[in-house]
């Protein structure tokens, strides 16, 4: 089994050899390491993408907007990802961002996961019919469980999720009420002495 440190190093060097700047190659190394740690096929997708790149051109999108569409060429997932990561603080205000035709979108995914941590919001990433819930770069929840290579994402939608509870208020109240059974009802003596400051903590 390859160690994560080997995966990081080899992905970084391969990215540089494939023509990316060192700073971007560093990002790819960290991303591939993260994908493999989480059980998503980073190495497979990266290897295949670099093989394809030799004979095919990809669009390097720079400034991102609400809808990013290029009809002739597919977007490079690495350049699109780096720019998403860099621009995420302003993109967050758009709530939802759409891309058409990103090549090898699995390689785009870790950039979005890291962006989720930067803005402190969960992000829902949809690659056609595959969904990924990105949780502050801590974990990824998905309906996509096989390790196939995805060569193209036709429609990619990125949605910043508001920081709201995943449960209803009455569910919280019920659980809170149960938790109160660990508390002690304070009598006068406890009120006087147990907190340390007495009943009046003003000077």
């Amino acid at each position: 089994m390859k160690s994560l440190s080997e995966i990081d190093m080899v992905s970084k060097r391969a990215s540089r050899a494939a023509g990316f700047d060192w700073g971007i190659a560093e990002e790819v190394g960290k991303n591939t390491r993260m994908l493999e740690l989480l059980g998503i096929s980073g190495i497979k997708n990266l290897n295949y993408y670099f093989k394809i790149r030799y004979g095919k051109k990809f669009e390097s999108i720079k400034l991102l907007s609400k809808e990013n569409k290029k009809t002739q060429l597919e977007y490079c997932p690495i350049i699109a990802g780096v720019n998403f990561l860099d621009q995420v603080r302003s993109l967050e205000n758009l709530n939802e961002i759409k891309f058409h035709n990103i090549a090898f979108p699995i390689l785009f995914l870790p950039f979005i996961s890291r962006a989720s941590k930067i803005v402190g919001k969960k992000i829902l990433l949809k690659i056609d019919n595959k969904e990924f819930l990105l949780n502050y770069n801590k974990s990824i929840y998905s309906n996509f469980l096989n390790d196939e290579i995805i060569t193209i994402g036709n429609i990619i939608v990125i949605k910043f999720l508001d920081n709201i509870d995943s449960f209803r208020e009455n569910e919280w109240k019920e659980l809170y009420k149960l938790s109160e059974n660990t508390f002690v009802e304070e009598n006068d003596s406890l009120k006087q002495g147990a907190a340390g400051a007495g009943l009046n903590d003003n000077d």
Partner: protein, 553 residues
């Protein structure tokens, strides 16, 4: 009185870093302290009469076991080489996490002797190999088998029976990644498992030499005197492979240096020095002179440094003996200021190390802060502006920004990875091919480029916009924002200049390992000795932490 931390622009010069010495912060010393109450055992010793075979040593505490597995092989003298291009060694070692099963041992017997071309698993923590100092090993075997102890002067000259030529850890060749073990309290200090491996290898060399001597002449042979064993360490040949490490791990480098600088600051701030502390400092200082006078090297560069160190130390001792009173307020501060005015870097840094000796209370908490969670600082804060980054460069890279990289001598060398051994190398860009595949280790040059580009950019431009057109500088943009938070994370020198002395980078790292007797063999590799004078495993429970200065050599 408040003392400021020393200025990173001075401390982080390579000539300064290349003058560092071992100290109480050194990893091999903190390893011994951490493992002193662990149960040591030799679990297996299956060698043939010539000393070839398998041995296993372990440290155990509660449910945790670390096992060193040794494979000693017969090696033709023509195959023995310390160079990284070697493919066979006298012995190969791995540190296994837990008790190895029979299947583990068989698997490792196949893989460990192959080293870089073998495959290890997540159950292994470190990997190494070593060659005999044949002259010394054979002399010891011959002497012991004749019932005599070996010639101490020969042993003193060399200092070891074996020298390692590489010690690998942290995910190399399939070894366990650091994330798997980083929360174990016993390995909070950096390189602790690598230190354990080297320490147990040292014990194997004694057991092997005794065993071979005994088999050579069972009736007459004696064992190597434990005091002589104690005075021997493990040699190490180190080349350029180690140099880029300190460039590639800026926050880790910061934490090492910051620990040292914080220790110095806190010691200088002690108002009243207790007599027992000043006595210990003076006693160790005087004892340690022996280490320097027995420091052998053919390197003119190092001989010059030793000579100046000895001269300065003698001056300093005479100052302490005649003119100094430890009952003065802030006595160590006074000493430090005297050194700055009267001594060279070698001596200043030597005394800085010595000052730490009496102060476990200051040093021990710092040892736990010497690791780093590097990934936490990886993301670039792209909401920061051009002017903010420019300010960082102007304050953190003052001298670097003055270097003229259009002059060939400032741009003479390039770092690359050898295809043959996948190891870092340094070469002249005007004479050799390959500079188009240069590694991103020319930090000074790239920082200067970044500064020039920032200077023609709009001050209010944020990094996300700046990087749109300047991703070729992304690696140094990331770095500058790290350096902003970590003052000692950057070498304040040009690592590609004609005048670079790469062994200064090696020496910095090796001093933190706790190496003694640096012996440069060129400006790109050197030999050192580790654990010389250290307690043997049976003596660990109750050992004197000043063992470094009690060395017989």
């Amino acid at each position: 009185m408040k003392v400021e931390l020393r200025d990173p622009n001075i401390v982080m010069k390579l000539s300064k870093l290349g003058s560092f010495h071992q100290s109480k912060l050194s990893f091999l010393r903190s390893f011994l302290k951490e493992f002193k109450d662990w149960e040591y055992k030799r679990d297996l010793f299956e060698l043939n009469t010539l000393g070839f075979g398998t041995a296993i040593y372990s440290f155990k505490k509660n449910n945790r076991v670390y096992s060193l597995i040794c494979f000693a092989n017969q090696l033709d003298k023509n195959e023995r080489s310390d160079r990284v291009i070697a493919t066979k060694w006298d012995a190969a070692f791995t540190l296994h996490d837990g008790v190895p099963s029979k299947q583990d041992i068989e698997r490792l017997r196949n893989e460990v002797p192959k080293q870089e071309v073998g495959r290890l698993s997540y159950k292994e923590l470190a990997l190494s190999r070593a060659n005999k100092s044949v002259r010394v090993f054979n002399h010891v075997v011959d002497s012991l088998s004749e019932g005599k102890q070996p010639d101490i002067s020969l042993l003193s000259n060399v200092g070891y029976l074996y020298r390692t030529t590489a010690v690998y850890g942290s995910g190399k060749f399939g070894l366990a990644d650091r994330f798997r073990i980083k929360d174990r309290e016993e390995i909070y200090g950096p390189f602790r498992l690598e230190m354990m491996l080297v320490y147990l290898v040292r014990q194997f060399t004694f057991d092997q030499v005794n065993y071979v001597a005994k088999n050579k002449n069972p009736k007459k042979a004696v064992s190597l005197d434990p005091e002589i064993c104690r005075s021997l360490g493990i040699g190490n040949s180190t080349g350029l492979g180690m140099a880029p490490f300190i460039v590639n791990h800026p926050t880790l480098l910061n934490n090492w240096i910051l620990a040292r600088e914080t220790a110095l600051k806190e010691i200088r701030e002690i108002e009243k020095i207790e007599k027992k502390d000043s006595d210990l400092f003076t006693a160790y200082l005087k004892k340690s002179i022996k280490n320097i006078t027995s420091w052998n090297t053919d390197s003119e560069y190092q001989q010059k440094k030793i000579k100046s160190l000895l001269k300065d130390l003698n001056n300093f001792i005479s100052f302490i003996d005649k003119d100094f009173n430890f009952s003065n307020e802030f006595a160590f501060n006074e000493i430090y200021l005297w050194l700055e005015n009267n001594s060279g870097d070698e001596c200043i840094e030597y005394i800085v190390s010595m000052m730490m000796e009496p102060y476990d209370k200051i040093i021990n908490p710092l040892i736990k802060k010497m690791s780093s969670e590097e990934d936490r600082y990886f993301d670039i804060p792209t909401n920061r502006t051009v002017i903010e980054l420019k300010d960082i460069l102007e304050s953190k890279y003052k001298k670097i920004l003055k270097i003229d990289f259009s002059k060939s001598e400032n741009n003479q060398n390039f770092w690359f990875i050898s295809k043959n051994k996948e190891e870092p190398r340094l070469a002249d860009r005007f004479k050799e091919k390959g500079s188009d595949l240069e590694q991103p280790l020319a930090i000074a040059r790239d920082i200067k480029k970044l500064y020039e580009t920032l200077s023609i950019s709009k001050n209010s431009c944020t990094m996300d916009k700046f990087l749109l057109e300047n991703n070729h500088l992304r690696h140094v943009v990331r770095r500058a924002f790290i350096v902003e938070k970590f003052p000692y994370s950057e070498i304040q020198d040009n690592t590609i200049s004609k005048s670079i002395v790469p062994i200064d980078m090696l020496r910095l790292k090796l001093s933190f390992f706790g190496a003694l007797k640096f012996d440069p063999r060129s400006n790109k590799w050197l030999r050192i000795c580790m654990f010389q004078g250290a307690p043997l495993p049976e003596q660990l429970e109750n050992f004197d932490d000043g063992w470094v200065y009690n060395s017989l050599n």
